[in-house]
């Protein structure tokens, strides 16, 4: 226990969005200089509002209904606008989640970086530019002169996030609030940016308030951890301790959502249900007056097999081609070249097997808010799938629909509800029921759980696993998250840049990865070890694929 005075003290803070609508309830938290504290919670936990309150930047609709926040012993709520403006930037800085919308699109990078310096350090004018150049290089960006005159839209998400971090750290603040700083980035870039950010804060003695829904990520980097649920802080403590011996039920629930492997299954791999051979997809060069643009190759020759009853996971980052692969297999896109085979027969519109394939290969989409027609009831949505079913009477169809809804846990009066009355998890269940009702041979799940909160995600994954076991359909599970995949996949295919980087059984890929890219992806996922107190020990693999001692240096639980 250090004895340095608290830099930040949140004392019994309550924030409300209206009468009887508390967003944050009686929250107390302390942060010492240089400490890294992580706040973990799902949507609705209040973690974002809490972090905004530290800068007094909560939206108009949110007001403080109790408590206070002290920065260096001074009450933030007692400050006037001018005093607050002196705090924002030099003392407390913030990095936001969405790099695409956090930088003003109509101002150049240079202008945006200079603003803060001009405002808070007007006297050191000739130091501004050198400082900016140095900081940009420090965050890993080259060609800094060009960057300064460019606009945000010219950069990728990862680069924008680095710029944001540079902008925040320029004034060497005492506290950096990082609100989901890497969530919107690809797995590999996530780690680089996170580690760069934490190195930088360490160098400058900046304390970090790290807010995320990603428990493993917070556990990896934070000294202390705070767990929030529905506006309450339910648990706090040193990270290793909270993980190893969680005191609160909710923490335990969160820990249970961490990926765990089932026992490997025996799959009959003699005759593939569906095969793809040398799939190539090009977005053709567009005719631009007299020049032909170079075609973009999204898929560069992918071949794979899916066997009956197995769950095949396709993992890759954005731009790898995994989503495109799913769209080709489901028939939404035609490949530029290559072939698809269903039950051994080549697929062509009009060929005898085509109708069978069309009926039997269905898809669950990623965004639960856009995959259901807002004007149809749950009943109608699921029943629509049986519109073209042959050999089923009207009452058979009704029964099937009821069965499907019961299977996904939405029996009873859910049938008459509309999508906007359902939560994200419930909508995904409807989407699954819609596929299930046909008793399909193949279900393609395109990032089906990515948009859900972790506890809901775990429930839906369990549901999928159970349904798959019961009905025996094959599943092509597309995801960017290897962790999710570890839980339900029999086989794993890793895609990078339009080609298959590696494929094999789940155990083979996770324990003996051959490809360096696979190893990089695996590096972001922790390995779990249960503790006697109902918690976990998290370990991360080294870049070479071997497990090492935990990097957080935590002592064993007392």
């Amino acid at each position: 226990m250090t004895t340095s005075p608290a830099l930040l003290q949140i004392q019994n803070l309550s924030l409300s969005a209206g009468p009887d609508k508390l967003v944050v309830r009686d929250a107390s938290l302390q942060l010492a200089a240089g400490e890294i504290v992580g706040i973990v919670g799902e949507s609705g936990s209040g973690k974002t509002m809490l972090s905004r309150a530290v800068m007094r930047l909560t939206p108009h609709a949110i007001s403080r209904s109790g408590g206070d926040i002290l920065l260096d012993g001074q009450s933030l709520y007692a400050m006037n606008e001018r005093q607050l403006r002196a705090v924002r930037g030099p003392r407390v800085a913030m990095v936001f989640q969405e790099p695409m919308t956090s930088l003003t699109p109509t101002l150049s990078i240079g202008e945006q970086l200079l603003e803060g310096l001009r405002m808070h350090l007007p006297q050191a004018r000739n130091e501004h530019m050198p400082r900016i150049h140095a900081m940009l290089e420090r965050v890993g960006l080259r060609d800094t002169q060009r960057i300064l005159s460019a606009f945000p839209h010219e950069f990728s998400g990862g680069m924008r996030q680095r710029i944001m971090i540079a902008s925040a750290m320029l004034l060497r603040p005492a506290l950096l609030i990082a609100d989901e700083p890497t969530t919107a980035l690809d797995a590999v870039v996530q780690r680089e940016v996170m580690e760069m950010m934490l190195e930088l804060t360490r160098e400058n003695g900046t304390a970090v308030l790290l807010i995320s829904h990603d428990l493993p990520m917070v556990a990896r980097y934070a000294d202390r951890m705070v767990v929030m649920k529905q506006g309450d802080i339910v648990e706090t403590g040193p990270t290793a301790q909270v993980l190893a011996a969680p005191a609160h039920d909710y923490t335990r629930q969160l820990l249970r959502t961490l990926p765990q492997r089932r026992a490997p299954r025996q799959i009959d791999r003699t005759a593939p249900l569906m095969s793809a051979r040398d799939l190539v997809l090009e977005f053709g060069g567009r005719q631009r007056w007299f020049r032909k643009g170079a075609p973009a190759r999204v898929l560069k020759g992918i071949s794979l097999d899916i066997f009956p009853g197995e769950v095949v996971a396709v993992v890759g980052e954005s731009g790898s081609g995994k989503t495109t692969l799913g769209m080709i297999l489901s028939g939404l896109l035609q490949p530029t070249s290559g072939s698809l085979l269903y039950k051994g027969q080549p697929l062509r519109p009009g060929s005898p097997g085509f109708k069978d394939y069309r009926y039997n290969c269905q898809m669950v989409f990623q965004d639960p808010y856009s995959s259901l027609d807002p004007r149809m009831t749950v009943q109608a949505l699921v029943a629509e799938a049986l519109r073209m079913a042959e050999g089923l009477s009207a009452s058979d169809k009704r029964e099937r629909v009821q069965q499907a809804l019961a299977d996904v846990g939405l029996g009873g009066d859910f049938a008459t509800r509309y999508p906007h009355e359902l939560s994200g998890g419930q909508r995904q269940r409807v989407a699954i029921a819609r596929v299930l009702v046909r008793r399909p041979a193949l279900m393609i799940a395109d990032e089906a759980v990515s948009a859900l909160d972790v506890t809901v995600r775990a429930q839906v994954l369990d549901l999928l696993a159970e349904l798959q076991q019961r009905y025996g359909f094959s599943c092509l599970f597309i995801s960017h998250d290897l962790g999710v995949v570890e839980q339900i996949a029999d086989r794993v295919i890793v895609v990078q840049g339009g080609v298959i980087a590696e494929q094999g059984t789940r155990d083979a890929v996770f324990d003996q990865p051959q490809n360096p890219y696979t190893r990089q992806l695996l590096d972001a996922i922790p390995m779990l070890q249960a503790t006697p107190d109902g918690g976990v020990h998290l370990r991360w693999r080294h870049a070479e694929g071997r497990a090492t001692a935990p990097a957080d240096g935590a002592a064993c639980p007392a």
Binding site: M55, S102, F151
Partner: protein, 314 residues
């Protein structure tokens, strides 16, 4: 950036061609016979036939179109039947008059409405906002010709501050001209303030809840800086586009104002031409106004990247 400009200009050219084609076809559809109109009721068949030959009305339609386009490109829009003057000269003269009303009105309306719209957005939900929105809605619900009539009745007839009819060109006598211009400009001004204020408010509101505004505040910048440097530039785009549309619409719409205040402007010219079945004049006015509309919108598009650089990139 240059590719963007070239593309936009390139797209405007076919549009102008189609506009010309549309005007040509439209005027040919107007019932009646130009030759009969020019010669009057008493003309006999032979003179009518001769005149038609002379006007080139017997040639095939595509030929007529090409001939006419050729003339247009040289600046010759034909001769007005009712005025016996070159159409081009008439249009230009009247356009100058209309412009003296439309341009100052839109400019002043923008200068007043944009800051007020941003103010309303900034103070969303509070009294200032409600009052501004209510005023703007009221202003744009009052038809311009009624507003003009009321202003005329009160300030010109009753109070005698301004003349009731007529017009004096600015070039001739600036002070006199101003007297004639005040009421028409005010009428337009009030209406357009309503429209522009609402648009500015709406687009500013959309921008204000975006992350980058919070980010700007998080840097410790003053509200004023945040509004002017960050919010304004990003939100002005739609209003800028609207201004182009307004200017174009007003070139024809100003006809009602010109009628109320008896001003010899372009809008009134077109209306009179329609009454008189003056085909060359109708054709010329339609072509001129539509072309100006296309060019104004082109200009607006070309300057758009100043406010939002993302546009030039795509």
């Amino acid at each position: 950036m240059w590719k963007f400009a070239a593309t936009r200009i390139g797209m405007a050219i076919p549009t102008l061609v189609i506009v010309a084609l549309a005007v040509f076809i439209l005027v040919r559809l107007i019932p009646g016979d130009p030759a009969a109109l020019m010669l009057g009721d008493s003309a006999d068949a032979a003179s009518l036939a001769a005149l038609r030959e002379q006007l080139g009305l017997n040639a095939s339609l595509p030929t007529q179109f090409l001939v006419w386009s050729g003339h247009v490109l040289q600046g010759d829009l034909g001769q007005s039947i009712s005025n016996r003057q070159p159409v081009a000269a008439l249009i230009w003269q009247r356009f100058a008059v209309s412009a003296q009303i439309v341009l100052p009105a839109v400019l002043l309306a923008t200068l007043v409405a944009v800051p007020l719209g941003m103010l309303a957005a900034w103070r969303q939900g509070r009294l200032t906002d409600l009052a501004l929105v209510a005023t703007a809605t009221l202003l744009l619900s009052l038809p311009a010709f009624w507003m003009g009539l009321l202003l005329l009745m009160f300030f010109a007839l009753k109070l005698g501050w301004f003349p009731v009819v007529g017009f004096v060109a600015f070039g001739e006598n600036p002070q006199q001209a101003l007297l004639y211009l005040v009421l028409p400009i005010t009428t337009l001004l009030l209406h357009e303030i309503g429209v522009i204020l609402r648009m500015t408010r709406a687009s500013t509101l959309e921008v204000l809840h975006l992350d980058y505004i919070t980010h700007a505040r998080a840097k410790g910048l003053s509200e004023m800086t945040v509004m002017l440097r960050h919010a304004f530039k990003s939100s002005f785009g739609p209003t800028w586009t609207l201004l182009g549309l307004i200017l174009g619409n007003l070139l024809a719409g100003v006809a009602v104002i010109e009628t109320v205040f008896t001003i010899p402007g372009l809008g009134r010219l077109l209306v009179d031409a329609i009454f008189a079945r003056d085909y060359p004049l109708i054709q010329g006015c339609l072509l001129f106004i539509a072309s100006i509309y296309v060019l104004v919108n082109l200009f607006v598009d070309l300057l758009y990247p100043i406010f939002d650089p993302r546009v030039a990139a795509s």
